[in-house]
Each structure stands twice: as C-alpha cells, then as structure tokens.
C-alpha cells in the first residue's frame, strides 16, 4: 500500500509541476522524496524474508 501511495504522490507532484505553481511542486516534491527515504530506511532495517 505504501508504494501505491508513493507512486500516487509522484503522479500528483508531476501534475503540480505541469499545471500548478512552482512553489507547490517543490513543496510536494520535498515531501515525496522524504517519504521515499523514510520507506527505504524502514525496509532496510526490517527483517527480509526472501524465499528462492
């Protein structure tokens, strides 16, 4: 679910960059990038259950 929301956030940022103000796009971009790094840190520190 978190990745769906991140893709959705990126789509919103792209639409804001194309239609909205520059300030809005930059703010949304910063929030999305921080969310991506936070998601990465969560997954990097969680137990990884892989099966090959």
């Amino acid at each position: 679910m978190e990745f769906t929301l991140l893709f959705l956030a990126v789509a919103v940022v792209l639409l804001a960059a194309w239609y909205g103000s520059r300030t809005l796009a930059l703010g949304l971009f910063a929030a999305t990038l921080i969310a991506c790094v936070a998601t990465y840190l969560y997954h990097a520190s969680a137990v990884l259950n892989l099966s090959f």
Binding site: L14, W18, C36, Y40
Partner: protein, 183 residues
C-alpha cells in the same frame, strides 16, 4: 547552450525515463515477475526523476530544477546499490530474471549513475540560465514527453495497487493480491 535546446534535451530526458518505466513494466507483464519493495522504490525514483525536467520544460531551465533530479538520482543509486549488495554473495541467484546479463537493480544503478553524469553535463552550460531571455515555447514533442511519463506513473499506481492490495507489500511477492481471490 540556448534555453530552447536545453528544453529539448530535457524532453529527451523525459523520453528516456519513460523508456525505463515502460521496459520495467513490460518485463513485469511478459515475464510474470512481480517487483519487490526495493524494485518498486527504484521505479518510484525513476518517476520522481522526471520532476526536474518537467519544471525545466514548464518554467524554463534553472539550476535548482537540475538539483532536484540530482537528489533523486543519488537516492535512487543508493537504493539500487543496497539491493545489489543484498545479492552480492557468490551463488546468490539474485532477484528476478537477468536482462542482457544484469538484473533490474543493476540496470537501475547504471541508469541513475548515467542520470547523475548527464545532469552534471547539463549544468556546465551557463547560457541556458541567462536572465531576461524569454521562455521557450512548449512544443508537441515536449508535451508528449511530459504526458507519457505521467501516464506511465499512473499505470504504476494501478499495477502496484493490484500487486500489494491495501496491506503492506510482501518482501517476496508471488501474485497480485487484488487478483487472487480464493488463493
């Protein structure tokens, strides 16, 4: 470099991002291999990489727009490197199928490294940032590039929702959560 040429090169960059997203999505459908969480995160970084070029096309080239893409490319390269290191032990088959000898995350690292080099090269040309020059007209070539990336990102929203459903995405996904009724 004139601003108009810089905008054209940014549009070409958007087409390159669209190609990466399309290949990843195509491989997912053709090979029936679902992207893992780290793979998805790398795809998200490729889509987010497009924000800088879109701003350059819309508002004209600015160093800050290139800086946004540099931040994303650096983060994306770090995420890809993390996945490469997860599978670096001898005998580890890696995650998913290899494409032309490299797994998706290896290609992703190469892609982000190329993006960093390309962005640094673009920043070398100061004349595109000259004040007082009128904004270049946005042509059909650039518009199509922007909408192609937005459409592929929207497609990934749907595909990821189908894969992960409304819960946390599994570390090693085997089927689409929302398409596996009764499994």
């Amino acid at each position: 470099m004139a601003p108009a040429l810089a905008v054209t090169l940014n549009a070409l960059g958007l087409y390159a991002i669209a190609l990466v997203l399309a290949i990843a999505f195509g491989a997912q459908l053709i090979l029936h291999e679902l992207p893992c969480p780290l793979c998805l995160l790398q795809r998200i970084q490729f889509a987010l990489l497009a924000v800088g070029p879109v701003l350059n096309v819309r508002f004209g080239p600015r160093p800050s727009h290139y800086a946004l893409s540099l931040l994303v490319a650096t983060a994306g390269a770090a995420f890809a490197m993390r996945q490469i290191l997860l599978h670096i032990m001898p005998g580890d088959p890696g995650y998913g199928s290899a494409l032309l000898g490299y797994h998706y995350y290896s290609w992703a690292f190469i892609g982000f490294a190329v993006a960093i080099l390309a962005l640094a090269a673009m920043l070398l040309f100061d004349r595109q940032f000259a004040a007082g020059k009128p904004l270049p007209q946005i042509g059909a070539f650039a518009r199509a590039a922007v909408w192609l990336v937005i459409a592929l990102t929207a497609l990934n929203v749907v595909a990821t929702l189908l894969e992960c459903g409304f819960a946390a995405c599994p570390d090693d996904p085997k089927h689409y959560e929302l398409l596996s009724f009764g499994q």
